[in-house]
């Protein structure tokens, strides 16, 4: 199951790394255990739902450093932090940086599993959102320039006649472009088209107009 979720455990303590990995595997999760931040960064990125279980204090780059590095690289992977001795300021920083949770060793198995599941769910969701966005973008890319113009004006709520006036073409022509556009965008209704357009982000009218 190469598309299933994967959990990365990064801790410099081999014994602990092994134990946590074992625990997660016993819960049926696929686990990759790594000894340092560098090792994780050097690991090939896989397109699967994933969660990072990360020790805060390690020789070399710390867990906090790795979190910052991933953010900078635009890698969106939920992180569950673990620490041998937590202090308030570090945990606050970690949570502000988007961590799923901050666990103090030793922790109860259900705690860890809950956190990891939450992380994987978040990963799954963001993957789905990304996949949808890519699909919509792909559909949008298939539109002609005129169809994009029509889409832009349809989502603002204009009627066909108004669109025709706006673009300086016949209302009948607008109807034809609109039909093609709705089909290509796989939208069943104007409401659905608006939702899809929102996921595209702000309408890039200039660029669209030129293309």
């Amino acid at each position: 199951m190469t598309d299933g979720p994967i959990v990365y455990v990064v801790d410099d303590d081999a014994s602990f790394r092994k134990a946590v990995s074992r625990l997660l595997r016993s819960a049926g999760l696929e686990v990759e255990a790594l000894a340092s931040a560098q090792e994780f960064l050097g690991h090939p990125v896989v397109d699967r739902p994933s969660c990072l279980v990360l020790d805060v204090r390690m020789p070399g780059p710390s867990g906090m450093d790795l979190q910052a590095a991933l953010q900078e690289a635009g890698r969106d992977i939920p992180i569950v932090f673990m620490t041998g001795h937590g202090d308030v300021s570090t945990s606050v920083r970690a949570m502000k940086g988007g961590a799923v949770d901050f666990l103090e060793k030793p922790f109860r198995a259900p705690e860890l599993l809950a956190c990891v599941q939450r992380g994987l769910a978040r990963s799954q969701q963001s993957r789905a959102e990304r996949a949808e966005r890519i699909a919509i973008e792909r559909r949008y890319a298939a539109l002609t320039s005129r169809e994009r113009d029509v889409l832009r004006l349809v989502v603002t709520g204009l009627l066909n006649k108004q669109i025709a006036g706006n673009l300086g073409i016949a209302e009948k022509t607008v109807k034809i472009h609109r039909g093609h556009m709705m089909q290509k965008m796989e939208a069943g209704s104007v409401a659905e088209l608006v939702r899809l357009a929102q996921k595209l982000g702000p309408p890039d009218s200039e660029a669209g107009a030129r293309a």
Binding site: D13, S15, L23, S26, G84, E104, K105, P106
Partner: protein
Amino acid sequence: VGFLIRAFVSATHRARVLSIRLLGVVVGALVFQLPAWAGAASAADADRPRQALLLYAESRLQPAIVEADAAFRSTVSSGLGAPMNFNTEFLDLPPTASTAYQRRLLDLLQLKYEDVHFDLVVPFQIRALRFALDARAELAPGAPIVFMAVPSVGDLELPRDVSGVQMSGDSIDTLGAALRLQPETQRVVVVAGTTPLDKILLASVRAAFADGPAHLEFTYVTDLPLDAVAAKLATLPDKTIVLLVSFLQDSAGRALSTPEALERLVELSRVPIYGLSTVAMGHGIVGGRLVDFKKQGIMAGDLALRLLRGEKLGPADIVTQTTNIFMFDARQLRRWGLDESRLPPGSVILFREPLLWDRYRWPIIGALALILLESVLVAGLVVQRIRGKRLEAEAAVQRGQLAHAQRVTVAGELAATLAHEINQPLGAIVSNAEAACGLVDPAEPKRTDLLETLGDIIDDGHRASEVIGRLRAMLRTGVAEQTPCDLNLLIVEVLKFLKGDLARARVSTDLRLREDLPLVRGNAIQLQQVILNLVLNAEAAMADGAGELRRLTVETAERTPGTVEVCVRDTGVGVKEGDLEGIFKPFVSTKASGLGLGLSISRSIVEAHGGTIRADRNPDLGLSVHVKLPSDAGR
């Protein structure tokens, strides 16, 4: 000291009077031996010594006689330029004149001076003058008379070759001076002895006071034993003064001199005693318009010289002008509390004891200055000592706080490290146990026991971890009380503590503190701990350095707004590139005696303050440790 000086002055005065008395006796004795030799030489020699006959009615040297006699002799001797014999006779005339006695005495003197041709007869006082006038024709025919100290020639008819110096007791002027000094005076007690002279003088005083101020009550005390007089004076009421006229003998027949009597009276008298003669001066009288017997002698001497040089002198040449002077005793003025400024103008004040101030002005000023200087010095030293002690105490308190904080932090750091190191395997144990639970086959018959066992392992793992956690919580390098801190000030204070250490280690310190450094919000003691640890590490790193250069640089800066930087740089042994990260780990130390917690603690504190700490190798020598802390404004 005043007392000693008074005693000394009084003693020297007595010695002087005594020596003059002795001199008189010796001179007298010599004069008695002279006539035989003088007679032998007189016949042919025109340059024969001139002969003077000095006549005293008394039986012995009285102080007044001593003064007048000595003054007369020295005046004549020094003025004449030729030998002069002073033949002196103490006639011891009886109180009541006896012709028979006088006759026999004259016969004796005639016999004695058979071969002496007198050039001059000098009687002293009125009785001697009378005797001289009677005896001259037989004893010293043709010799002119020059008298001394005769109050008044009275009814005497003086031949044409008689002259002399008159004396008058200035009882009125003395009383006037006394009243100036004591205006409140109501009674005047006049005291005199019993000799004829005493009585003569007393009579003249009485006569003078007959016209005295009406408001004064005059009492005359005479014909009493000295002790009785003294007793009387001892019981006198206030506002009374005593005038001692002359006291040569008391009613008990005790022969005295005025000074002797006076000293006894002064001892007991309740009121001031004034006098009439310089003889009494210095023996207890306050003073007065005093007869100056020395002056009498000098003036009589002058007359004698004129005669001896051939001048003819007669009654017209009698010196009547007064020889009296206002003279006072400063000690008595002070004793009776009398105001010196009220004395008659031109008064002579004797025995003025120079005030210590007058006599020892410069030594006193010097001594005072010295004392002052010394006091200032002592005060300064005391103040300095107190301040030093206070500073020392403050420093000790601060050092104590720092040491305490260091111990607590070391314990905290140890606990944190322990927690980390122990929680790591505990975490592994617990996780393994939990994993094992999942691996147990539910169908296995003994699974309940196994799951229970694993559950216990998990629980105990947590229990152990909680113990560590509690220990840590107790010793937490927590966020202590935070205030805005001036890092520059903290650095200066820490370096002050370590001044001695750094000096012993021969480390020179270079402070490059940025002015107007923003404040940092934090715990001053913890931040000082960081600086202390960094400086001590720097010092230790340089301790074994072979190089001469042992330079510690502490720098503060604000390179980016909102972040304050402290850099502690040394020229020590430094750290290998690969070991740089490790030096902040607990129990990593290059020092044999070090715990290896200094930098670890520093990192904990800095991180608890929201800052970072980093070490860099210097391009040349040693290590730089950079601490970055958010400034108070930057938060």
